[in-house]
Symmetry: C3
Subunit: 266 residues, 3 copies
């Protein structure tokens, strides 16, 4: 049994996701299709790349991940199928796959070009159905990779925002806001590991009240209080216990964050 995951910006109202599943299950009846997200904002390649990056590692080896956030559908952008030592990643070559594969061993990457794979005629607006679903089904039922198309050596990279370790602490940025309003930063929990009880805080330059003392879990402060916790994705995240840090402090992806010793002047 193979698992195929789907991440798109299609929403769940119009039937597009169901149609992709119809195509996949029609061609690979034994596979299991799991939704990662279909509520990515239309065209938000960056958020899709981040969700895929976070989620894929929790699936069994051999899973086939399909990402269709594809504002350039029908145009000249090409389509990719990347195989790593853990999984397959399928989607448009617009950067949406690039974060998921950035810390994995890539075995091969292919451009999806073989029209015999596709539903025909291929629409110019819905390659999720006509191109990516059939390629996923082909792989899910054990089809040969070299039938997909020729190998490529490179693909569009979305730059990963690497945080800086300065003298006074870390400087990074907000990568993603989750539905709870937690702000995930790009500062890895494995890199910044404050000794217990050390008085560190995350701050957002320019927003004086956005000060998140380092803790261990959301309820480690009183209700409504800000706190920075080691998040489940492996990054420090800024939270408000029982509330939304994003809403409370007007945070958004790309905002800078700094880690400072509390009490010190800045």
């Amino acid at each position: 049994m193979r698992i195929v995951t789907l991440i798109t910006d299609f929403g769940l109202r119009d039937g597009f996701v169901g149609v992709m599943k119809g195509v996949i299950l029609g061609r690979a009846p034994q596979c299991r299709v799991v939704d990662l997200s279909h509520e990515i904002e239309p065209g938000d390649i960056r958020s899709a790349a981040f969700v895929l990056y976070n989620a894929h590692r929790w699936f069994p080896v051999g899973t086939i991940h399909v990402a269709v956030v594809d504002p350039g559908v029908g145009g000249p952008r090409s389509a990719l199928a990347i195989r790593t030592d853990r999984a397959w990643f399928i989607g448009p070559d617009n950067g949406v796959l690039s974060w998921a594969v950035r810390d994995q061993a890539v075995r091969s990457a292919r451009q999806i070009t073989n029209p015999r794979m596709f539903l025909r005629p291929v629409s110019q607006t819905f390659h999720g159905r006509d191109v990516f679903a059939p390629v996923a089904a082909h792989l899910a039922r054990g089809g040969r990779a070299d039938q997909i198309g020729p190998e490529v050596q490179s693909w569009k990279q979305m730059p990963w925002p690497v945080p800086d370790r300065g003298a006074g602490g870390w400087r990074g940025e907000i990568l993603y806001l989750d539905r709870f309003g937690n702000a995930l930063t790009n500062i890895p929990t494995g890199d910044f590991q404050p000794e217990d009880g050390a008085p560190w805080a995350f701050v957002v330059p320019g927003r004086k009240r956005a000060r998140f003392p380092v803790g261990r879990f959301y309820a480690g402060v009183g209700s409504g209080e800000p706190i920075a916790v080691p998040g489940s994705s492996g990054f420090w995240e800024l939270a408000v216990n029982g509330g939304s840090a994003a809403q409370r402090f007007g945070l958004k992806p790309g905002d800078p964050v700094e880690v400072v010793r509390m009490g010190r002047a800045r």
Copy 2:
């Protein structure tokens, strides 16, 4: 393995859809349940009919489609199970199935009347659970169709809005707005096939700025520009590259559209 699809206006918050799946899987453990949509606006039979019409054809032959947008639940409206040469369609007799079956060969249509099929007592508010789910499960595990109820020769039709081909071009209407704000018209891509480079545009009478030159794909115009493209459902659709045509021009289902030669006075 049989696929059962579900389309409802239940939303995903209250557990109604999960309950239908519990009933179906309890009685037909081997079948696969696929969501088409549960975000149909409450009581919007027309949108459900359109989504089902678009989606069903991408599923394997033998799929069982269940549509429960059912504002008359518990009242005198009857319930239907229609078998075509491709699939089963199950739902209330309020028109929600009528578009999906309109261009298919109907083998038989039955009124759902056999109380031995139902969960008992049958509620007056949730036939999705008590009537339609068990009938779908009955068919999914290979149950006999004649146990459902008597054959009927007709059912409620929702009129399909047929576009007009006039001297100057086509006149039609907007059928559906998708989550991207694309406006799907009722003008089939197979009927209106402009020669390449021909200067046609879709316009919305009364809204002077809503002018969509004919193109091939969304990104065929600059960001924020309107364009009409052959949509993946087989209808021309009005779009704004990287934006929402519906929002930008205040479009809604039922609005008239016309196809005109560009540059000509109207």
Copy 3:
């Protein structure tokens, strides 16, 4: 084949639910995962408890229900696995399971403590992935219950609001608002069974116009008219035919309701 259901407040945008499914299917590939709801408002334990209470009974015996509405994650609250004669219930010990099991025969209840069950390292923010998903998978593939942790005799109870039967009628409250704006009360349809045609109505004290005559189904009154119907969950519910009772009358959970004979002075 075992069914695992999921109810959370994670939403469907961030991939958290997909990740739980990845963990479950990686460890118990044969099980079927069904979503009950992921649109519970963040931290709304009461609504999750109610949805689970309503939904679980429609699943086959042996189903494993996982509820993760868990604002205290990472803190001192403990985690539970409760086995009844119908099903398993897994989640934090914060009351979210207590309504579902309140009218069932509990065979055993265990505290989830065995770290060998968990993904390691266990995050302090996502026990859905690190604790509850692996325990569900353990049970789904037939693992022994005593490996989960020690038996406990009690767990956090959320008080169930019992309605009063007074001289003039019933007094209760609104338990839950569904997506249609129907207001589910705590008055059981099995307890209040008005004779046909008897002039009863549900009223909301302090809101003079919120008067819902007792009927049988939504469309039993004219469009836009209020009506009280025996709901599919086994409770009387307040509705507006073709509209939202919640919006129309500003209803919310906890609001008192009374059943009165119509025409009588109050």
